[in-house]
């Protein structure tokens, strides 16, 4: 398919998503907004894991850091865009620091190092009550007004989040199409060879973590304003596992992998749970079991993710 046609189809899909808010229930619009904020985080994780080949089970921690930075600063009356910038920079710097273990260990060792980081951040959120509100959390987080436009309404905030997601996606697309994207892929495929060709694997490893973390931080800011109340629960390491699942199920290292994968982790369980069709009634009880079985089958039959289906068919048809 030609690039121009792909772009038109993508634009149409985004417009359809935006227009759908006019016809959907409030709860469905909320769900789509939730999908958009999680997608910001999984887009970042795909850069870290899928493109640069690093392992991370700490993405929810950055999502949480972004959310808490937003909750605290927005309640102090800081402008939203400044809060967004501060959260992105804070997460970028913390992500940079988290990248250092990746210079020494890889694979499951790195997975546990990042998971430990997530546990640490979670404990800080839960125990540092003076700053985070502890298990009581922070409530009444305001939604922004930008350039005089009040984004308090659920549809307006959804459009704002969707627009921001598209902007973040475009920025990542541009970055991954630049020589940096190729360097990340070289780091993933063969770091020893990459270094022998002058690719600074230290810098690119740290940047992969830092950029991925910044994306999650941005997602966290939108999340805080969306839910208007945060507590440590959504930033538990189990959320990091779900984010990693989204990247892998969609197709790691494929730009649109998280777009599909985040549907699987955010929208599919909710659609199964809330299904009112008579033949899907059993889903209201069994949706998690069905979801689990579906994930197991996907991992076994499609380790390359859902977006690898066309390649799988092409291989079976004998095409290169």
């Amino acid at each position: 398919m030609k690039a121009g046609i792909k772009l038109v189809l993508l634009g149409a899909a985004i417009l359809a998503l935006a227009a759908s808010a006019l016809y959907l229930k409030r709860s469905d619009v909320y769900l789509l907004s939730l999908y958009a904020v999680y997608l910001m985080a999984t887009f970042g994780l795909n850069l870290t894991v899928g493109y640069a080949g690093q392992m991370s089970l700490g993405q929810a921690a950055f999502f949480g850091i972004g959310a808490y930075v937003a909750a605290i600063l927005l309640k102090l009356g800081w402008p939203f865009l400044l809060v967004l910038l501060v959260a992105a920079v804070v997460c970028f710097l913390v992500g940079l620091a988290l990248g250092f273990p990746a210079l020494r260990v890889q694979h499951h060792y790195l997975a546990f190092a990042t998971l430990g980081f997530n546990v640490l951040v979670y404990l800080v959120m839960r125990n540092e009550e003076k700053i985070t509100g502890g298990t009581y959390g922070i409530s009444a987080i305001p939604r922004p007004t930008i350039l005089g436009v009040d984004l308090n309404g659920h549809v307006a905030y959804y459009w704002f989040t969707l627009g921001s997601l598209v902007a973040l996606g475009a920025l990542l697309w541009w970055l991954l199409r630049s020589p940096w994207g190729r360097a990340f892929a070289a780091l993933r495929d063969n770091p020893i060879r990459a270094e022998s060709l002058g690719i600074n694997i230290t810098a690119y490893t740290l940047l992969a973590f830092a950029i991925g973390a910044a994306c999650a931080g941005v997602g966290g800011v939108y999340f805080a304003s969306l839910v208007e109340f945060i507590e440590p629960g959504p930033f538990h390491f189990s959320t990091s596992l779900m984010m990693l699942l989204a990247v892998i199920v969609g197709g790691q290292g494929r730009f649109f992998g998280p777009v599909v994968g985040t549907i699987v982790i955010i929208l599919v369980p909710e659609l199964l749970r809330s299904s009112s069709a008579p033949w899907l009634k059993f889903m209201q009880v069994w949706y998690l079991a069905v979801f689990g079985v579906g994930v197991v089958l996907l991992m076994v039959w499609l380790p390359g993710g859902l977006l690898s289906i066309p390649e799988r068919f092409a291989r079976k048809a004998g095409k290169p």
């Binding site: 630049s178 020589p179 940096w180 190729r182 360097a183 892929a185 990459a194 060709l197 002058g198 290169p320």
Partner: protein, 250 residues
């Protein structure tokens, strides 16, 4: 010793692994544009010598100087920036990238600063050179395919082409003929001669294919048990009794 002869100066390099002396006092020099072959039976320390020169491992003692600068134990990244390229004994390509992207990746980091590269064109300004190398190595028909999906011989050619993409001053090639179809070996030798003539770099080549190395290298070093057993012009080394014994036994 003239400045030209000191282009690469390997002096008394030793590498121990416990009681094993994998490289045991190797000394040699390389002039600009020169091609030197390194031969020796398996386990004679050739690759360990390469890795000691190229910073993959730090030698136990001895020194390596490149263009008058002491580069002993210098990281591969720093050596690459000084114009030292290499290939590895085993295949080392970026399997998920296309052949063309493999070649661009091999040269893009030499195009300005990291920040400038972030804003550069996707091919980092080396796309045309990548296309020239693709043509030279006759990889045009697979240029857009993922390198990891190609045959061993094709990946070997990509591997070698990548080493030459940044036009390095010095290239160390570790068994370039290994796994390559015998019909391609002569073609590969001609390619290396062409690259030596057009790019002007110096090469050090490890190889077990005697015919290949005797035709390619005007100077040959034979290593046995970590030491230099013999060196000189190919015919001399080939006729050396100690070399024959090392290869064929008593």
């Amino acid at each position: 010793m003239s400045a030209a002869e000191r282009f690469l100066e390997v002096r008394d390099v030793v590498k121990h692994y416990g009681a094993i002396r994998a490289v045991d006092g190797v000394t040699f020099t390389l002039a600009p544009g020169e091609i030197v072959g390194v031969i020796g039976p398996n386990g004679s320390g050739k690759t360990t010598l390469f890795n000691s020169i190229l910073g993959q491992i730090r030698p136990t003692s001895g020194s390596v100087a490149f263009r008058g600068e002491d580069v002993t134990g210098m990281a591969p990244l720093e050596l690459a920036r000084r114009g030292v390229g290499r290939t590895f004994q085993t295949l080392q390509v970026f399997g998920q990238l296309s052949v063309r992207d493999n070649l661009i990746a091999a040269a893009q980091e030499f195009q300005g600063s990291m920040i400038r590269r972030m804003f550069a064109a996707p091919d980092a300004g080396v796309g045309r050179r990548a296309d020239e190398m693709i043509e030279l190595f006759r990889l045009g028909h697979v240029a857009d395919l993922k390198a990891g999906t190609l045959s061993y011989g094709q990946q070997k050619l990509i591997d070698i082409a990548m080493a030459f993409m940044p036009a390095p001053r010095l290239v160390l090639l570790d068994e370039p003929c290994a796994g390559v179809n015998p019909s391609l070996v002569e073609e590969l030798r001609e390619l290396l001669v062409t690259l030596n003539r057009t790019q002007g770099g110096s090469f050090v080549v490890i190889e077990h294919n005697m015919d290949f190395i005797m035709k390619l290298c005007p100077h040959v070093i034979c290593m046995v048990e970590g030491k230099v057993l013999a060196e000189g012009v190919p015919a001399e080394v080939q006729a050396n009794r100690a070399v024959l014994e090392a290869y064929l036994g008593n």
